[in-house]
């Protein structure tokens, strides 16, 4: 280790560059992205949705502090326990207190939990933790970092997945994708059914209604949030919007921008499961989770309000900019601080880890600014990454 962050970044980039399989995976992912983006061309409905979400987010950021307080009240009224965590350590401690040790924990995909390093933290407390999103699961067993917000494992082509499953799950089936997916499904189903705690993320949190909205296609988040007796939602305060209708809009837009299609599942959770079907007496749980906890993470977000980075808080993490980026789709997970990759990753790194941590990453931004052409929220990703390169936000 040289200790020079620039050289470390360069070494990592060159390592991925020499990985033929990873490059093949990323080329395939970029090509399929282009195809799904073409589905959106001239789609007036999605364009209108994007316009509405830009407006929703703009309003939400203007009154974020009061919206977070409102969300807390509403969620608590609905029977959830809420923690607003100021720092990364506060957030980890809050989840650690809920989970304890010696538990079987299942997780659905959540960028904020990557930001916190939650899986490693919970394992350090003596818990067994499994990612239930297929891509995240593959990253977990391969020890790799994500290369995209949504298509987290786009640098792992099928050949690599087969090798991984053979080595880590003792898989002996054929190498076609459906068979491999089937094997992982069986493995994870077993863990979900036996889990003590299910950790989920959120695409949006409705302050007025006290509800958490999450989109997904695999169905794992729905199971993770409802089958284990305890559900912990971990998300950023930037996800709070005024109403459930607003939250739906955010979730739908994210889904359209990721894959060009509506989501297979939209999960709305407003509290723990319960029934009053017998004599109107509330009994928890019925079929879903008995407890619901929501950890709203600040970790630098409110400090970004009123700075040039404020517009980044409107990011819905669709990853559209990332798949359009010539650099990220070339070097993959090398250009990342862990949870945040690419040009938008430079910006989220600046928010959650400080401009000092983001600056070396900014050297890799070509400032072509093509990312901005693909962003539904109109975030000036390349422009701001360039400003960080030139020392913005440094004291």
């Amino acid at each position: 280790m040289s200790g020079d962050p620039f050289l470390e970044l360069k070494r990592e980039a060159y390592r991925w560059l020499s990985d033929e399989r990873a490059r093949a995976g990323m080329e395939r992912a970029s090509a399929s992205f282009e195809a799904s983006r073409r589905l959106l061309e001239g789609n007036a409905y999605v364009e209108e949705l994007a316009r509405e979400v830009r407006e929703v987010k703009r309003r939400a950021l203007r009154e974020l502090e009061s919206l977070v307080a409102r969300a807390r009240e509403s969620l608590e009224r609905n029977g959830a326990h809420v923690v607003v965590a100021r720092t990364r350590d506060d957030a980890l401690r809050a989840v650690g207190d809920i989970v304890g040790s010696g538990k079987l924990v299942v997780k659905s995909k959540s960028i904020v939990t990557e930001e916190l390093g939650l899986r490693e933290y919970l394992r350090g407390l003596g818990n067994e933790v499994w990612e239930t999103d297929l891509g995240e699961f593959l990253l977990q067993i391969s020890g790799n970092r994500p290369s995209h917000f949504v298509a987290v494992s786009m640098h792992l082509p099928r050949e690599e997945v087969l090798d991984l499953l053979r080595e880590k799950l003792n898989y002996r089936g054929p190498g076609d994708v459906p068979s491999m997916v089937g094997a992982v499904r069986e493995f994870l189903r077993d863990r979900i059914m036996r889990a003590d705690v299910g950790i989920t993320g959120a695409n949006a949190v409705a302050a007025e209604d006290g509800a958490v909205v999450q989109v997904e296609n695999e169905g794992n988040a729905r199971l993770t949030g409802t089958v284990p007796p305890v559900n912990v939602v971990v998300t950023g305060i930037d996800k709070v919007v005024p109403t459930l209708v607003d939250a739906f809009r955010v979730a739908l837009l994210e889904s359209y921008y990721v894959g060009g299609t509506p989501p297979t599942y939209v999960n709305v959770t407003s509290g723990p499961s319960g029934t009053r079907d017998v004599e109107h007496v509330l009994v928890r749980p019925a079929q879903g989770a008995k407890e619901m906890h929501v950890v709203l993470v600040d970790n630098g977000r409110s400090a970004a309000l009123g700075t040039p980075l404020e517009e980044v808080l409107a990011c819905i993490r669709c990853g559209s900019c990332q798949l359009a980026c010539p650099v990220l789709t070339t070097v993959g997970p090398a250009w990342s601080s862990g949870a945040y990759m690419g040009g938008i990753g430079v910006l989220w790194t600046a928010i959650t880890m400080g401009a000092g941590a983001a600056r070396p990453l900014a050297d890799m931004c070509a400032e072509c600014r093509v990312c901005e052409e693909y962003c539904p929220m109109g975030i000036r990703v390349g422009l701001l990454a360039g400003e960080i390169k030139r020392g913005a936000g440094q004291t």
Partner: protein, 308 residues
């Protein structure tokens, strides 16, 4: 493998010693301009050295890539005092004469559009854009001030720029860092499309355009480029990624991450290879990078003054 300090040191050292980031000589910078009038005049061509640097860019891209790929790449190499000699960036002669022809053509195209422009010769200072792109704020500001003084002293009313990087620097960055120069016009904004024709000797009627990111996104001149090319009589083909959604040539990363830049260039060339005709760009950085991998021409090589 080169660290950032070495690359930056090399560039700053060249600039201090020679006034040019890649140590181009006065002869290399200005030999194209034989017969072009000197200032003062209403219109001043400001090249910012960028087209003239294509041969040195091409050579340095290769040299930097070779250093980063060498078997001893575990070793951190400091260029520091090694300077230009060690980083053999002797410009290639064929490319130099191509660039001279492009610049002369730029002057002729302006003339055919009714604009008599002058050029200052070897005293024209470098724009500083590379310093900005490397994040070197203070050296950029210093260089920009030098250019601003030069432009003001020239007494030109309109500064004519030839490439998107220099145009962007003068138009968007200088006002932010040091103050506004006189009116800046990119040559594509001045050339009359009806006064251009296909250049004699270009063996194809089909062109595929690679848009420079800055030309399209920051300057919005991609439409104008097509207008000029079509008006000259070419059939223009569009890659899937074009206009403001173009795909970078890799150039901006060629000094700090040369192997990443090379791979991005390769991907772009592959995208272009799916289309018929000659690949054309309107940017010296794209020409230096993409042209290293296959046939790419600049728009100033495919059109000339004349009516169809």
């Amino acid at each position: 493998m080169l660290d950032k300090r070495s690359v930056v040191g090399f560039i700053l050292d060249n600039l201090r010693r020679t006034g040019d980031p890649l140590a181009a000589t006065g002869e290399e910078l200005s030999s194209w301009a034989a017969g072009v009038p000197r200032p003062p005049s209403e219109y001043l061509i400001y090249t910012g050295h960028l087209y003239q640097l294509v041969p040195r860019m091409r050579a340095s891209i290769g040299a930097l890539r070779a250093i980063d790929s060498s078997p001893g790449s575990g070793l951190v190499l400091r260029l520091g005092r090694l300077a230009a000699g060690a980083l053999s960036i002797a410009p290639d002669g064929g490319l130099s004469s191509r660039v001279s022809a492009m610049l002369r053509n730029a002057h002729d195209l302006l003339r055919a559009s009714g604009i008599e422009a002058s050029y200052a010769g070897p005293s024209e200072p470098y724009s500083g854009i590379l310093l900005h792109d490397l994040g070197l704020v203070d050296p950029f500001r210093e260089q920009a001030r030098r250019v601003l003084d030069f432009l003001e002293a020239s007494r030109a009313r309109v500064v004519v720029t030839l490439d998107p990087h220099t145009t962007y620097a003068l138009r968007e960055l200088y006002p932010k860092y040091v103050g506004s120069p006189p009116e800046v016009r990119h040559i594509l904004e001045l050339v009359d499309p009806s006064a251009v024709t296909r250049r004699a000797g270009v063996g194809a009627e089909d062109l595929k355009v690679h848009d420079s990111c800055l030309l399209a996104k920051a300057l919005g001149l991609h439409g104008r480029l097509r207008e000029v090319l079509s008006s000259a009589g070419y059939r223009v083909h569009e890659p899937a990624r074009s206009g403001t959604r173009t795909f970078c040539c890799g150039g901006p990363l060629s000094s700090l991450f040369p192997r990443v830049a090379a791979e991005i260039s390769r991907r772009r060339m592959e995208q272009l290879s799916a289309l018929p005709g000659i690949a054309v760009s309107a940017c010296p950085v794209c020409l230096a990078n993409l042209g290293a991998l296959g046939e790419v021409m600049d728009w100033l090589e495919v059109v000339e003054a004349g009516r169809r």
